[in-house]
Symmetry: C2
Subunit: 357 residues, 2 copies
């Protein structure tokens, strides 16, 4: 189903949504989003869709094994808080059980959640006094977002769920016009197993049980097979959804994508390449090892600039540790600088759109 | 490095620990375990090593993508609580950020953690009254385990970390003799990328950047390569560590392994096969879709029996929802039946060992 265009470039697969099944709970999620968006559209509020966490690629229909993309969801969950602070309503499209705005300060911690708790004299469970002040603040902000109905949490797990949700939400956001913003910080798989090549049952490693994999299940050209003692997995490219988003699903919104690399020599080149390929507004580049300290803004006007925060002391959220965090946390959450910069660009775009009307 | 024995069966790879690097924090973890085990050995207490959660297989050294095994850690975290209740000291060897004993009642919930909290009249953060009673109970048990030093939490992420830890811990547990128990509920990868075939940087999907993958990094026969637009991953079998555990690392301990299948027709056959292959004491078989309601005990004496709990109402832990949970939770946590059965078998084994001395 892959199509070639004139330049030999792979174009997006229009058949994707015909050949890969709609997630069972999609309609319910879209219904939630519709009323959320309608409310904020009627109040002329900006709405940011913040995508966060990694997507999975199941290797079997009854999934025991899957491929995953590294992401605790720190960038997305932290950014969502700053978008709320900047007056946006936020649709938080996140990997289930990844970090969430506000609760992120207390989850994925080296402490067990119960370490924050104690019994008071009356035997009731209360928060330990040393955590009281910060938690009171975090709880207030979380409650405000709930009362104002400015934060909608929508979970996904697989890349298929993510793509269906992204398309469905983008369609719903069209009435927002330039007030819509896509902040695509999720780590989305580049490769996947199309539904038609998926095996039903757990792939059997033991040689005594392999016929179930190679003969059974009715999968055409199954995505996994044994070659002697080795397991061979072959994956198809995920359609270039960013192209579809920019050209078709969200033509009037601001679109910001992220580019994560591990090789410093590739980062600027790949960020620029993505921007030119998809013709959206901003690519934020970051390196796996330094992503909490520095990011590279590459924008459509040709500009490239680094945003860097000082290292040296621990973050305000002393309780929040990524599982790969460096010994030193940055002094400032870099998202507190990224989000206002993005919002500024968004303002310009909205003004430009208004002047054209 | 794979060796064949006389039966054509693949034997465990003695070179694994020579060719796959020791995790940087292993020594620190083993030191913690040593003093924990010494204390309980001196008090003649049984010690259960409970392995829980899935292991990952990184596809790059600077890991962006990895293969994972499905497991929230429910079986392990729940079982650990019942082992503590049964008087065991527990080494909880778990996937980082998977469910933990006690805190499991409030994490991986559809509720955000902050939904359990409220401000009281004095402005302090306290637990909502409706959750007070249960949380007070859970917190008491957690604190008791901490005070008695009967629960040691040791995290892993990759299958390599898991194997090094399992070997190291088993060696430390040898002085426990028959008082040691291995309850291997972790979902361990069957396939992995050996260190020598690992690429350094993120695998590039775009055709314009592929030379870094195929030419670079110095990996011999890299585990991933592009074939046109497809990504091909080829994985080696993980050495049969259970064989090494039974024969070499923990010859006097009781060893219980789990077998998770999706195909009901394979379960009993595969559980029996594993028991015969590794000559340990007990295999607990379970199916992905019914694992909270029923498990199959397959033991060395030839016995096979199902343990089944009634369905029909929600679990006592109304706050604890697995991301794949069925609409109805079982009325009873099945681990509250599994663990006492295992402990009974363990008692028999200890008595038998004592009678031989």
């Amino acid at each position: 189903m892959v199509q070639q265009n004139g330049t030999g470039e792979q174009s997006s697969d229009p058949d994707y949504f015909q050949t890969n099944p709609k997630p069972p709970n999609l309609d319910r999620q879209i219904t939630l989003a519709r009323s959320f968006i309608e409310q904020h559209a009627s109040e002329n509020r900006r709405v940011a869709l913040v995508a966060s966490g990694g997507t999975t690629v199941p290797l079997e229909n009854q999934t025991v094994r899957f491929i995953d993309n590294f992401s605790a969801g720190t960038r997305g969950a932290t950014s969502a808080e700053y978008f709320l602070e900047a007056g946006y309503a936020v649709i938080f499209l996140h990997r289930q059980f990844s970090l969430l705005p506000y609760s992120r300060h207390y989850s994925h911690s080296t402490n067990c959640f119960l370490d924050f708790m104690t019994h008071n004299d009356a035997g009731a469970v209360v928060v330990e006094s040393e955590y009281q002040q910060q938690m009171a603040q975090v709880l207030s902000r979380y409650r405000k977002a709930k009362e104002d109905n400015t934060l909608l949490l929508l979970p996904f797990t697989t890349v298929n769920e993510y793509l269906w949700l992204l398309r469905g939400l983008a369609m719903q956001m069209q009435p927002l016009g330039a007030n819509g913003l896509f902040y695509l910080a999720a780590a989305v798989s580049d490769f996947f197993v199309p539904a038609e090549r998926m095996v039903e049952h757990k792939i059997q490693s033991s040689e005594d049980f392999q016929e179930e994999l190679t003969n059974g299940n009715g999968a055409r050209a199954p995505a996994a097979h044994m070659d002697g003692k080795r397991l061979i997995i072959n994956l198809d490219p995920v359609p270039k959804f960013l192209k579809l988003l920019v050209d078709g699903w969200a033509p009037r919104s601001m679109i910001v994508s992220f580019k994560l690399e591990t090789d410093p020599s590739l980062l600027a080149k790949k960020a620029r390449y993505a921007l030119e390929k998809y013709s959206h507004h901003l690519v934020i580049g970051n390196l796996l090892n330094t992503r909490k300290w520095e990011v590279l803004f590459v924008s459509a006007d040709g500009g490239e600039r680094w945003i860097r925060v000082p290292a040296g002391r621990r973050s305000k959220s002393v309780t929040n540790w990524d599982h790969d965090s460096q010994p030193q946390e940055p002094a400032i959450e870099i998202e507190s600088w990224i989000v206002p910069e993005v919002a500024k660009e968004h303002t310009k775009m909205i003004e430009k759109a208004a002047s054209k009307q």
